[in-house]
Symmetry: C2
Subunit: 349 residues, 2 copies
Amino acid sequence: MTEYKLALVGFGGVNRALAQLIAERNERWKTELGFSLKIVGVTDLFLGSLINRQGLDAASLAGLPAVKGALAQLPGGNALALNEVVIKDSGADIIAEATFTNPVDGEPATSFCRWALESAKHVVTTNKGPIALHGAQLKALAQRNHVAFEYEGSVMSGTPVIRLARQLLAGSTINGFEGILNGTSNFVLTRMESGLGFTEAVEQAQALGYAEADPTADVEGHDVRLKVVILANELLDAKLNVSDVRCRGISTLTLDDIDQARQNNARWKLIGAATRQADGSVSASVEPRLLDNAHPLASIGGATNAVSFNTDLIGTVTVSGPGAGRTETAFALLSDIISLHQAAAQNRE
Amino acid sequence: MTEYKLALVGFGGVNRALAQLIAERNERWKTELGFSLKIVGVTDLFLGSLINRQGLDAASLAGLPAVKGALAQLPGGNALALNEVVIKDSGADIIAEATFTNPVDGEPATSFCRWALESAKHVVTTNKGPIALHGAQLKALAQRNHVAFEYEGSVMSGTPVIRLARQLLAGSTINGFEGILNGTSNFVLTRMESGLGFTEAVEQAQALGYAEADPTADVEGHDVRLKVVILANELLDAKLNVSDVRCRGISTLTLDDIDQARQNNARWKLIGAATRQADGSVSASVEPRLLDNAHPLASIGGATNAVSFNTDLIGTVTVSGPGAGRTETAFALLSDIISLHQAAAQNRE
């Protein structure tokens, strides 16, 4: 029986949901998945940090009050986020990185990933920043140190996308993809189809907790652009930077546009896409596209996300599912750990 | 570099497409997939049989004229389908079984699978009969003989379904599924939405090659029922027999039904479904269901297939793609071989 020691970096909704899953399911994972998880460290900018190499109680962590420095109230806890110490010196085998996405330079998450990989610790992350901005370097670093670097949750939370394409479509060539990769903007478009104006629809998304106080990253396509870079580099072997992706959001769409589309049996969707060109280069974009209602992405409504892969041997394969959510994203981290466990088993035997 | 020796059992469209893929791609598979394939035997009721342990030319096989006993025209060929000899004594490591589906007793395909597994040869198959009718026994037989028994293509051709659920959703519990699992009946329903009567829509499906001369198995749900048994037993750990699945087809749906649905923003779809009940038992059915247009399966049009998995940790995940096609189904066989190669590598190391 393998027991992985886990350090949680960033203790917001996602890693808290992971702690909750560990509290509830660790026992059955032993038989179902062949491993169990022991949390040996936690660090969070707001909550502070805590290390216990003997293992922390997952249920207590999951129920930790969300007040500044809360980890300092636990035995051995510290009001400061001793990130580097938790990552390098908590005895963890795996770092679960789930801090905020910084779309400018990917920090501090990129440094967290780098410290972990340099210390030969596996990294599982849901953070788009390090992958979109520094993915190639971090993957190379992981390879040099013979550890896993997995990030299924960086696109469409726990809905399998990266692994579906990489593992299950292996043997078929992916020539491109189109996706609805942001739930907030898709929710706004769906509400506009019910007659709500753009501003009212955004307000409703904010009221429901889908959209942030500043919805720019969602509605202007910046969030989708990061995901397009991740998928294009991963699935099409592209070497795109964020600035290589043309990006236009949905804020200029009017109710008239939506109505006119409906009259033509079509719908506006914010589509992130990339295509391999004849010369081998990859072109990528984020833009509102008018999709015929028969298009596999036209019917993806509300906060659901989806991506269609265009392949040479089996045509178009589409997967849809949640694009966000705490437990859904925590499942992505779990699926990353399952994947690295299988790879490790392969290397051990 | 691993070279697998392959015997093709049943040489209709699917295994012919596999031979064509081998002819075109074997070289690049060595680097991309880590193995190559050598065809050492072929057998087909209509075409006869042929063995060459040194390897047969895949391109010549793919181009074989579709005339009775054609394999007898090649050096060493026989006008008779020497199935047992080809399966047991051609020196094959893997048997690719792609004969016709017999929904009554699964024969002769089940015997072909049994002979292969008993001889400790891996089996990859696209045939619903052996899995739906004798899946548990054949799986046990494979396990006893330490060989793989893979059948991704038995449901939705090359679109990943079984492996998606089993591998990528591992860690989350699947509590049920709903699927559009027959392209012909879905094509007929889609055409009826354009105003065609049931009979005319079936005729059009026949003219386009979607429907057989006798469309009963497709439109009455019998084909879907086999797939529901396969998925329920595989993903919900059910022990269903075909007769456990309530089955009703689409032949009683009228244009009035279709129209009335449209007026209510809904659509009739032939849905194969299974659900785990509170007592742990699994109930399954095939029937026309009225789906609200917002349902993830409502927009699946034409010959496309799709299945939605209901999970505990990530809600509903849906995958859609081709449900038939020669190359699409041959890809399923290839994906099975990729999977058994990975498992074999794991056991070897």
